[in-house]
């Protein structure tokens, strides 16, 4: 772990010195947008380009400048006392700041992301944690954790949650795993996850099921990555057949996002491959569809223009073009049109026979 405490003091010290010299202090952050990332399929994740934004103290920036410094002060206290605060808690702490307080949580989240990027660290290293749900796990996996109080080792058997599931904690670095599964299946929706879990599909296919619940949280991404790396497991992704499922969910899991580019290296799953639903699936399985909405079409255009991941994989460009032509999208649960068990008995087994056909 890098010395975050030292870095905070260093930045604050620089600002202090500038002020004493009656010069305008400033802070430098890497730009957290798709424009400022590059994608090298060999490395497998979005990397930052060198573009920075410099926040110089002025009348227009004084509020954010003050808020950033005050949040750094919180971080310093948290690290010093080895404590953690959730994003929501930090937002509420700011309510003591009088006029400098945040009005809505997105404002405080943004400042937190800025600080993360400034120090090129993960928010947990700053003493902050996400409020978001980490994801659910079921299947042939034993997670080795420790009791937070007694530090005694706990073995959690993910086959023993019945119709429920193991919930990924916000911090996963200390976890260890035991498994004989053949692959990890990362699923977009909770609904599909439950269907597979109810039928003990993991037993049949010898796999680990993970429900991402939409765009995967950092903890979920890190959990899958750690598990896949340590146990050398392939990761297959099963999402809706639409631009959101492909680019926002699958792409973020695999290579990270523009917003968190400074930490993508650790919070991505480069080995992930896309199982479905593909545009071809919609045709092959005659799935019921919905027409593409304006936002979908706009997203497709945007992806071609701005997303380095789509740009560097011809397969994905082709797939998006096909979908655009069809003007349709299909949800993963549309498979139920052919019977509730169609997904476990036909679709997944057929797909899994040819993992080489999965999209990159």
């Amino acid at each position: 772990m890098t010395n975050v405490l030292g870095k905070i003091k260093e930045v604050a010290g620089d600002i202090h010195q500038k002020i004493l010299k009656k010069k305008q202090p400033s802070m430098t952050f890497p730009l957290r947008i798709l424009n400022n990332v590059k994608y090298d399929p060999k490395k497998g994740f979005f990397e930052l380009l060198g573009k920075n934004k410099i926040r110089t103290l002025s009348v227009n920036t004084v509020k954010t400048f003050a808020q950033t410094l005050r949040m750094m002060a919180i971080s310093k206290d948290l690290i010093a006392s080895d404590d953690m605060a959730t994003k929501r808690e930090v937002y509420y702490v700011s309510k003591n700041w009088g006029d400098a307080r945040f009005m809505e949580q997105p404002e405080s989240d943004l400042v937190m992301d800025d600080i993360e990027a400034m120090f090129m660290v993960n928010r947990e290293q700053l003493g902050f944690s996400a409020d978001e749900h980490g994801g659910d796990v079921a299947g042939e996996l034993v997670v080795i954790d420790k009791n937070p109080d007694t530090k005694k080792v706990i073995k959690i058997d993910c086959t023993k949650f019945g119709s429920g599931a193991y919930s990924i904690p916000t911090s996963v670095e200390h976890l260890e795993f035991e498994t004989k599964a053949k692959f990890i299946l990362a699923i977009e929706t909770k609904g599909m996850f439950e269907r597979l879990n109810r039928h003990n599909y993991w037993k049949k296919a010898h796999c680990i099921l993970v429900s991402m619940g939409g765009v995967p949280s950092r903890a979920c991404r890190r959990f899958i990555r750690k598990l896949a790396d340590e146990k050398k497991l392939p990761v297959y992704v099963f999402s809706d057949g639409d631009p959101y499922g492909w680019a926002s969910i699958y792409r973020t899991l695999k290579v990270g996002s523009g917003n968190a580019a400074h930490i993508n290296e650790f919070f991505c799953v480069p080995q992930a491959r896309f199982l479905g639903i593909t545009a071809q699936d919609i045709n092959d399985y005659k799935l019921p569809t919905h027409p593409l909405k304006d936002v979908d079409l706009k997203k497709i255009k945007d992806l071609f223009k701005n997303d380095p991941f789509i740009q560097s994989h011809k397969e994905w460009s082709k797939e998006l073009k096909l979908l655009e032509q069809m003007g349709k999208r299909a949800e993963q649960q549309a498979l139920a049109a052919h019977g509730l068990n169609f997904v476990t008995e036909k679709y997944l087994p057929q797909k899994l026979k040819h993992p080489e056909k999965f999209l990159p």
Binding site: A12, H16, L57, V62, K76
Partner: protein, 550 residues
């Protein structure tokens, strides 16, 4: 005016008919004369009684306003003519013991400190239609046709049967006189019911009281609003208003300076219509055409007169009355084909920017005022002058359409706003240029009162009841230019204010957030109290120095 015109046309066509008939066989003549007799029986007063809407007595609410308005206009004109700063008391009380909101009969009394009226004139002024000093002159004044106050009196008489009551005194050396008058609607002649000396505390002045059927409704078209607007356009006058709800409302005088007295001018040839030209030819005191043109019109030199005669193919020595009957068409055409200098403009008495501002500041609580007086211009031979004013902000409602306040020769126009040239010119201006919001085809929105005043020897109204100014392109153009001048001033004010607000916001911004930088640095670097103070002081200097930079 149009009523008057119609009426004169009726009578002149009668005469024409007679003359032309004279050449016809005797039998026809008798028929025509019988017809003419019948026609004469339609008296002016009867005509009006049947067409009361033409003069602003369409409904009981409007009748109350029109009555008060005619009396106040007369009082103001009379005072100004004698150069007396007007002190006018308006008293309106509900009758029959009813509340103001439900009463259907009112007593309207208007009292002024004007010159008073000489004995011989009183009955005719108040109880004979079309009797007045103003119709025959080309001079800017409030009243134009001498129909207003006697029409109000007649309306009262028609609806309540009660006479008009007048008290008047012309000097402290003479006794005050009290009259009760009726109007004989058949003959259009006054009937004096009572005439006696009376005691009055005033040295000079006039009070007229009319009892009439009416309704009192508050709002944009009420007597209250009329008086308020009159106070804006006449800041030299002092009004005391006892409202129907027995409230006393003062509209104090804001300036001692009376408006400059407008000069009387002869009509300009371009503004004369064929019918009027015939009348002028017939009534002229001059003996030949050249003299008629030269003396009865403005801006006709001997040379221009000669040119007109030549174009018309008429001898300069022709008798005007003969031309009236036979060759008037040619003359009329020739006049309009000849280039004639624009009319003199010393007949106009605009309010002036200073007075507009005084008037608005007195009655409208706003933050910013602008005014513009345009140079005189001419439409159809009539000189006129446009002025505009804008009041912005303060207590004015921010989310509503702007209020338009219209004046013609200082008289507020309360009805038919959207038919008025002022409305059209406001609509056609692009107010967004001045940072005022405006939807397409609508009045602008904002805390604004827009005032437009037209001063002219002859204000062209769209209807007889003098409610909306006609859409002459020359008039609309001038109105737009005046509005644009005000708009530009408003725009400067608004941008200055925005800048000042921005500055103030920045300053408070700095003061609000700087301490937090101090606190954060103190927390992180464990600074001491005096070190923190130093940081804050330095920060303030830095930001003040770099104010305005991004």
């Amino acid at each position: 005016m149009a009523v008057q015109k119609k009426l004169t046309e009726i009578s002149s066509s009668k005469k024409d008919a007679k003359k032309e008939e004279a050449k016809e066989p005797v039998k026809e003549l008798i028929k025509a004369e019988e017809l003419a007799k019948k026609q004469r029986e339609i008296s002016v007063a009867e005509f009006f009684a049947k067409n009361r809407h033409l003069l602003g007595f369409d409904n009981p609410r409007k009748a109350l306003l029109t009555t008060a308005k005619e009396a106040v206009d007369n009082s103001l004109d009379a005072c100004e003519e004698m150069r007396i700063p007007p002190d006018i008391i308006v008293m309106i009380s509900p009758l029959d013991g009813k509340e103001a909101s439900v009463a259907d009969r009112f007593l309207v009394s208007i009292e002024d400190n004007g010159p008073g009226i000489v004995k011989a004139q009183v009955p005719r002024i108040f109880a004979k239609l079309l009797y007045g000093s103003k119709f025959h002159t080309m001079k800017q004044s409030r009243g134009q046709q001498g129909i207003g106050i006697s029409a109000a009196g007649m309306y009262g008489q028609l609806t309540t049967g009660k006479p008009v009551k007048i008290t008047t005194r012309i000097s402290s050396k003479k006794p005050a006189m009290y009259y009760e008058l009726h109007l004989d609607t058949q003959k259009n002649e006054p009937e004096i019911l009572k005439e006696e000396e009376t005691k009055w505390e005033k040295d000079h002045g006039t009070r007229v009281s009319i009892e009439l059927e009416a309704r009192y409704v508050k709002g944009r078209q009420s007597v209250d609003e009329y008086l308020k607007q009159t106070a804006i356009s006449n800041p030299h006058a002092n009004f005391i208003y006892f409202s129907p709800e027995s409230q006393k409302i003062d509209f104090p005088r804001a300036t001692k300076d009376l408006p400059i007295e407008p000069k009387e001018i002869r009509p300009h040839p371009y503004g004369v219509e064929l019918g009027v030209l015939i009348k002028m030819l017939r009534n002229t005191k001059t003996r030949n055409l050249q003299a008629f043109l030269k003396q009865d019109f403005s801006r006709i030199s001997p040379k221009v007169a000669k040119e007109i005669c030549l174009k018309a193919g008429l001898a300069e020595t022709s008798r005007p009355s003969r031309i009236a009957a036979q060759e008037v068409d040619k003359l009329f055409k020739a006049i309009n084909e000849t280039k004639i200098m624009a009319p003199p403009t010393n007949c106009l008495a605009p309010m002036g920017e200073e007075i507009i501002l005084k008037g608005m500041k007195k009655e409208i609580k706003a933050e910013f005022y602008a005014a513009a007086t345009r140079p005189p211009a001419v439409y159809r031979g009539n000189p006129f002058q446009i002025e505009a004013g804008i009041a912005y902000g303060g207590e004015l409602p921010a989310e509503e359409l702007v209020r338009v306040v219209r004046f013609a020769n200082r008289v507020p126009l309360l009805y038919q706003q959207s038919a008025c040239a002022t409305y059209k010119s406001i609509l056609e201006n692009n107010w967004r240029n001045y940072s005022v919001s405006q939807s397409k085809g609508a009045l602008p929105t904002g805390p604004i009162v827009i005032m437009v005043h037209m001063a002219s020897v002859w204000v062209p109204f769209t209807s007889e009841s003098k409610e909306a100014i006609a859409h002459y392109p020359e008039i609309i153009k001038e109105m737009k230019l005046a509005l644009q001048e005000c708009g530009r001033q408003l725009s400067v004010f608004l941008s200055r204010r925005r800048k000042a607000e921005h500055e103030a916001k920045k300053k408070s911004y700095i003061e609000t957030y700087l301490p937090h930088i101090g606190i954060a640095l103190k927390d992180i670097l464990s600074l001491k109290e005096d070190e923190t103070k130093k940081v804050e002081k330095h920060l303030k200097d830095i930001l003040e120095k770099h104010r305005g930079e991004p």
